[in-house]
């Protein structure tokens, strides 16, 4: 057996069924050995970035590790964006890269890049395999590290001569799943006593709590605590529950942002207080005592001062906190929240929001909804309904344009029986549009692409409109956009188009009912914004509720934000 075969055998032993990748000189022995392992399916994407995001989509939908693979040098560096994305969103990912033979490493050889050096800050851990005997052990360890604790990406770099070297050792079996760590009973007791005294409690749930959705829901209902879910946490608590207040932060709901600003106790679970969530930190939850339940100790107290740190698994912590619950929702707090919740934005006029709402309304709670990055992403987060965890896939931490479509492919391949819908902008879709070929090659039938075409890099345009006096610098795409329906057609993917509210319902039906993967282009007005919005550098309570022009007193907040923008 060669090192390359040992690699596949180890992956197969760990239940890895699918690897997304792209071959090249320095990983050819691995691709050669692949032909002997039919139990592992390799998916050839059209760019290594596509492979990384597809593996992420797989992981985000299933909670299981995603695997991607690339050759040395340019192949490996093309994985970088996906690794950074997985790092910030805590996605369990294994990246395998080939490298030049050991004696060439460090000599600037053809297609050599120091990929472990390059990815040092954006991986949870990384390895160069230096002896073939170590290869399977390292791969097994990499899988364990990627999955354990706070998950993340791990890269294993394998020099070509090691792939070819004879291997005589044993192929390892998977490590036992590490025990889930329980928080101390004292910290839970302190959290409980704080909650018992609360008059205006609110719970805030992040992506670290997705696998604790059942426990979170039980906890919230037992205490009657209103729930806010972050962009990454959407789905950890059902949107249909009256206790749900929406998403917090820059494009969060009025109810969520106001509730945080007024709360006296904030129970945060599985989140890291990203600045897009907190707004100006010293204006975040100014009246609240904060309980922070988090597995990663380094996140406790990193951004926000914590009154009761609870270190441990969200599932266990939520279950512990549910015991001895008492209903604490006061009529006053309930009434205040109800007033805020009524202030939701429902896009009545034709535009991106209208289209996103019309599309997401047609989806079932079993469908997987992915998004790319931009206005359409925030609109989807605001307008779609999330009843279950792991049905909402997007790039939260890195905000990676080009993420949505390949991630939707990965999710679709992980769950072939499930509809995998992606909403993308005309800008971001073009960053990984070549993956249409992947749909065609593998005859993937459950991906539905919706492009919201506003002819602009919409999100950037919105900032320019608000904070740069409408100087629309380098954000106009309209003249150069392809005919998206024709583009899809070139890959044998059926395309549909709607350009008005009247055309939309029929187009959506045709698109969703098409037995194949299909693309829907929705052409919308150019200059629509996403609101509510908390300008960068402002506090959550300084949110702008509706599109300027329709409300009178925004000048202060906008001026403040413009100053901040100029400072940056």
């Amino acid at each position: 057996m060669t090192g390359a075969k040992a690699l596949w055998a180890t992956l197969a032993n760990h239940g890895i069924s699918t690897v997304f990748g792209y071959p090249g000189g320095a990983i050819m022995p691995v691709y050669d050995a692949l032909t002997f392992y039919p139990e592992v399916r390799h998916v050839l994407t059209r760019h290594e970035q596509g492979a990384a995001h597809a593996a992420e989509g797989w992981a985000k939908a299933t909670g299981e590790i995603g695997v991607c693979m690339a050759t040395s040098g340019p192949g490996a560096t093309n994985l970088v964006t996906g690794l950074a994305d997985a790092m910030l969103d805590s996605v369990p990912l294994l990246a395998i890269t080939g490298n030049v033979a050991r004696h060439l490493m460090g000599t600037d050889a053809f297609q050599e890049a120091d990929i472990t050096g390059i990815t040092l800050p954006i991986t949870k851990h990384n390895y160069v395999v230096r002896e073939v005997e170590d290869l399977p052990r390292i791969v097994a360890e990499a899988i364990r590290i990627a999955r354990s604790g706070r998950p993340g990406p791990v890269l294993v770099d394998i020099p070509k001569d090691i792939q070819l070297a004879p291997f005589h050792g044993e192929i390892p079996t998977p490590h036992a799943r590490p025990e889930i760590s329980a928080p101390s009973t004292e910290s839970i007791e302190r959290a409980r006593s704080l909650l018992l005294g609360a008059k205006k409690p609110v719970m805030m749930v992040g992506g670290g709590a997705l696998d604790a959705a059942a426990e979170i829901t039980a906890l919230a209902r037992a205490w009657d605590i209103p729930v806010i879910t972050t962009l990454m946490g959407l789905g950890a608590f059902p949107s249909s529950d009256p206790l749900w207040l929406g998403m917090p932060g820059m494009h969060g709901s009025v109810a969520a942002n106001r509730a945080i600003s007024e709360a006296d106790v904030l129970l945060g679970i599985g989140l890291r207080f990203d600045d897009r969530v907190t707004g100006r930190v010293n204006g975040f939850a100014p009246n609240a005592s904060i309980i922070h339940v988090e597995l990663d100790a380094a996140e406790i107290g990193k951004i926000i001062r914590t009154h009761v740190p609870v270190r441990g698994d969200a599932k266990v912590a939520a279950a512990m906190l549910t015991q001895g619950a008492q209903k604490i929702l006061t009529p006053e707090w309930k009434a205040t929240l109800a007033e805020w919740t009524s202030r939701t934005v429902t896009p009545e006029t034709w535009g991106a929001g209208y289209a996103v709402k019309a599309v997401t309304e047609r989806l079932s709670e079993h469908d997987i909804l992915s998004s790319d990055v931009g206005q359409h992403q925030m609109l989807a987060a605001q307008l779609a309904r999330f009843e279950r965890p792991r049905r909402w896939i997007n790039s939260g931490g890195l905000g990676t344009m080009g993420f949505g479509f390949p991630a939707a492919i990965g999710a679709a391949m992980a769950e072939p029986g499930v509809r995998s819908v992606v909403i993308a902008g005309d800008g971001g879709f073009q960053m990984t549009a070549q993956e249409l070929a992947t749909l065609k090659m593998y005859d993937i039938r459950n991906v539905k692409i919706c492009i919201i075409n506003n002819s602009f890099l919409g999100m950037v345009r919105q900032w320019q409109e608000m904070f740069h006096e409408k100087r629309y610098s380098e954000v106009w795409l309209g003249d150069s956009n392809p005919d998206f329906v024709k583009l899809a057609d070139a890959y044998d993917v059926p395309g549909y188009r709607a350009t008005s509210a009247e055309e939309l319902p029929a187009a959506i039906d045709a698109w969703l009912n098409d037995p194949k993967s299909a693309l829907l282009e929705v052409v919308v007005p150019h200059e629509h914004g996403v609101f509510p919005m908390v300008p960068a550098g402002a506090a959550l309570y300084e949110l702008i509720e509706t599109e300027p022009g329709r409300t009178p007193d925004l000048s202060d907040a906008m001026e403040h934000a413009a100053e901040e923008a100029n400072k940056a």
């Binding site: 050096g117 800050p121 928080p183 380094a298 107290g301 990193k302 009154h307 740190p309």
Partner: protein
């Protein structure tokens, strides 16, 4: 920075490629200020020991510790602010001499129990070990004569008493046991660091 001071950490790390890069990169990326860093092998094969002097307030150091704990290569972290410790540093100081100053310079060196490690016509090189205060005092005493060069090793430290720091099974499968007590202390440390009053 408020309340910034030097804080001493010892790290036991797996002796593997890039460990030093990983640790310094972590400090660099997060903007923690390393004042000195000394690395050496330990009595256990495969385990190196680092002493790091971090300059910052307690909050910064607590965060640095928590970030370091996440590194797979880091086996154990000893925060010397929590325990009694001994620390030493070694400095080589090359002092200019003249026929007139020679005796006086030697006398000062003797007072500091310093050894002469090199004798030149116009300079003497001294080796001094001790804590930071002693080294600084020595350099200050020599300064009027003309210091030509100095090189300091950076501080190294060990906890006092007979506790052994190195865990027996650094390379065993699974999470290292050695990290456990450190991680478990996080909640308590957090409170100390933030001065959070006990709610009971």
């Amino acid at each position: 920075m408020t309340n910034a001071q030097d804080q001493l950490l010892s790290l036991l790390v797996r002796d593997e490629p890039r460990v030093l890069t990983r640790i310094t990169a972590l400090f660099g990326r997060r903007g923690y200020n390393i004042k000195s860093l000394s690395v050496g092998t330990t009595e256990h094969p495969g385990v190196s020991r680092m002493t790091i002097v971090v300059h910052g307030d307690r909050g910064v150091v607590e965060q640095a510790i928590k970030q370091l704990e996440k590194l797979h290569d880091v086996v154990k972290i000893i925060d010397h602010s929590l325990e009694k410790f001994v620390d030493r540093e070694l400095v080589l100081v090359k002092v200019a001499i003249t026929p007139e100053s020679r005796v006086e310079v030697r006398q000062i060196a003797e007072d500091f129990r310093s050894r002469i490690v090199d004798v030149g016509r116009h300079a003497l090189t001294f080796e001094v070990t001790g804590d930071e205060g002693k080294l600084t005092a020595f350099i200050e005493q020599m300064r009027p004569f003309g210091i030509l060069e100095t090189m300091r090793t950076g501080r190294i430290a060990l906890t006092r008493g007979s506790n052994a720091d190195v865990p027996s099974h650094v390379y065993h499968e699974g999470e290292t046991e050695a990290l456990k007590p450190v991680m478990e202390g996080v909640e308590a440390r957090e409170e100390r660091a933030r001065g959070v009053p006990n709610l009971f």
